[in-house]
């Protein structure tokens, strides 16, 4: 069996994580590092040390915003943002799930919206997220106000060729 580091490197398909010399520039520039239990550079070290379960079940990988500041500033071009995507996808595929459950529920509601209409209908997507997460009341007042201002249309135009969109979901299901 491949070890964790080899597996993650293969999926990143770019600069190897071993190129990191822990200057911590990624962590210094990360806007959400203070909310994470492991800083971005610490995640790299943990992958090198084979801490698979701890990494895949961490909050860190779900709090990463993909703002790409880390890869922009990394002196060795280690693609940390891509690494976070890889780790999230591994957590889903291996049944670990998401430590930050609502973050994944939001993504699921969003993707279900694309699958349904090709384009995101924001009110429908929000209703689906609310039902999935059980977080029914936050933003309710703002939602009503947005609706009154015409920012939430219930009948936004959909993609016509929905078969092509559904095929994309079907054919990438196990990738």
């Amino acid at each position: 069996m491949e070890n964790f580091l080899v597996e993650v490197n293969k999926k990143i398909h770019g600069v190897q994580l071993q190129s990191c010399y822990h200057c911590r520039k990624c962590t210094a520039g990360c806007p959400v590092a203070s909310y994470m239990e492991y800083n971005p550079n610490k995640v790299i070290k943990m992958i090198q040390n084979g801490k698979r379960d701890q990494v895949l079940s961490s909050k860190t990988i779900w709090l990463c915003l993909s703002c790409e500041t880390c890869i922009t500033r990394c002196p060795n071009q280690v693609d940390i943002a891509r690494m976070m995507d890889v780790l999230r996808q591994m957590a889903i595929e291996e049944g670990v799930g998401a430590r930050e459950k609502n973050v994944l529920k939001f993504h699921e509601a969003f993707l279900a919206g694309i699958k349904r209409g090709g384009r995101i209908n924001e009110p429908m997507m929000m209703v689906e997220y609310k039902l999935k997460s059980g977080d029914l009341f936050s933003d309710a007042v703002a939602g009503v106000e947005m609706f009154m201002k015409g920012k939430l249309s219930l009948l936004s135009p959909r993609t016509k060729d929905m078969k092509s969109v559904k095929d994309i979901f079907e054919k990438t299901k196990h990738s």
Binding site: T69, T72, H107, S156, V165
Partner: protein, 282 residues
């Protein structure tokens, strides 16, 4: 000039002010827009956060559709722009992936069109001098900070935006229409993006930090080119810290005195009209 136009989902809903002002400004500047045929969502953060192939294929479907127009494609939403550039980057760098994605989408990707954002098109194709010459109502009294956010700029080798740590094109555009642009060091900081819904408290902190910094810099408004940044900055900062937030195209439309230019301000969540009245612009 003529370009393909990919509005993306937000511009039909929460970001409708951006779509409306983009269309009227484009028409006034002689940029003809041809909408990408039967477009679908780019996949945004949710696709790439959970399934890499899905994220590339959803964007590729739209790029392939845009190729039919054989024109540069203008993508106003920073998130869609970023996803398109990212898909292009991977499809051009990885032949194996390209073959796989073409099979998923059921069509060939040529890679022959340029993906552009409207800041780049207005600055580089129209130019600030031409823009300044079309101003009928200079935005005197408006003191914006320009806010580029993340997705137009990063990663730089993918987005190919000028001066990615201290960009200036939006600042120059705003200066040319008469605004007194203030400098600040938060131009490219993150607003919290899609965590606004699922981890709201973090995004409130991030937006509070940005608004405090804008106030400290002496600004009376914030200007952006991203519907996600606008939604977060318009809704999430704490009471007492909020400042009006504009799409840059809304301000160009106002400065050029275009028909309907005052309408888009009515649907902002934090009402910018008191500020605009105070400085005599509406």
């Amino acid at each position: 000039m003529k370009v393909s136009y990919y509005p993306g989902c937000s511009l039909h809903a929460t970001g409708k002010e951006y779509d409306q002002s983009m269309k009227s400004v484009s028409s006034a500047l002689g940029i003809e827009l041809k909408e990408v045929e039967d477009w679908s969502c780019c996949g945004a953060s949710s696709a790439h956060s959970t399934n890499f192939d899905l994220s590339i294929a959803l964007s590729a479907r739209n790029l392939i559709s845009a190729e039919k127009n054989a024109l540069d494609v203008m993508v106003p939403c920073a998130a869609c722009f970023n996803r398109f550039k990212m898909a292009e980057h991977h499809l051009k760098a990885d032949k194996e992936l390209k073959t796989k994605i073409e099979d998923v989408v059921g069509a060939k990707y040529q890679g022959g069109i340029t993906i552009r954002n409207p800041i780049d098109i207005i600055y580089n194709e129209i130019g600030v001098d031409t823009l300044a010459a079309k101003v009928t109502k200079p935005l005197t009294g408006l003191k914006p900070v320009s806010y580029y956010g993340c997705l137009l700029l990063r990663p730089p080798e993918v987005c190919e935006f000028e001066n990615y740590e201290n960009p200036y094109m939006l600042d120059k555009i705003l200066g040319s229409i008469g605004a007194e642009v203030h400098n600040w060091s938060y131009k490219t900081d993150c607003c919290g993006g899609s965590l606004a819904i699922s981890k709201t408290s973090i995004v409130v902190d991030m937006c509070d930090k940005l608004m405090s910094a804008a106030r400290e810099a002496g600004a009376n408004c914030v200007v952006t080119a991203c519907p996600l940044c606008l939604a977060n900055l318009d809704m999430r900062p704490s009471k007492g810290l909020k400042l009006p937030v504009f799409y840059f195209t809304e301000l160009i439309a106002l400065a050029m005195g275009l028909a309907g230019s005052k309408e888009t301000f009515k649907s902002h969540m934090f009402d910018p009209q008191p500020l605009l009245k105070q400085v005599g612009l509406i």
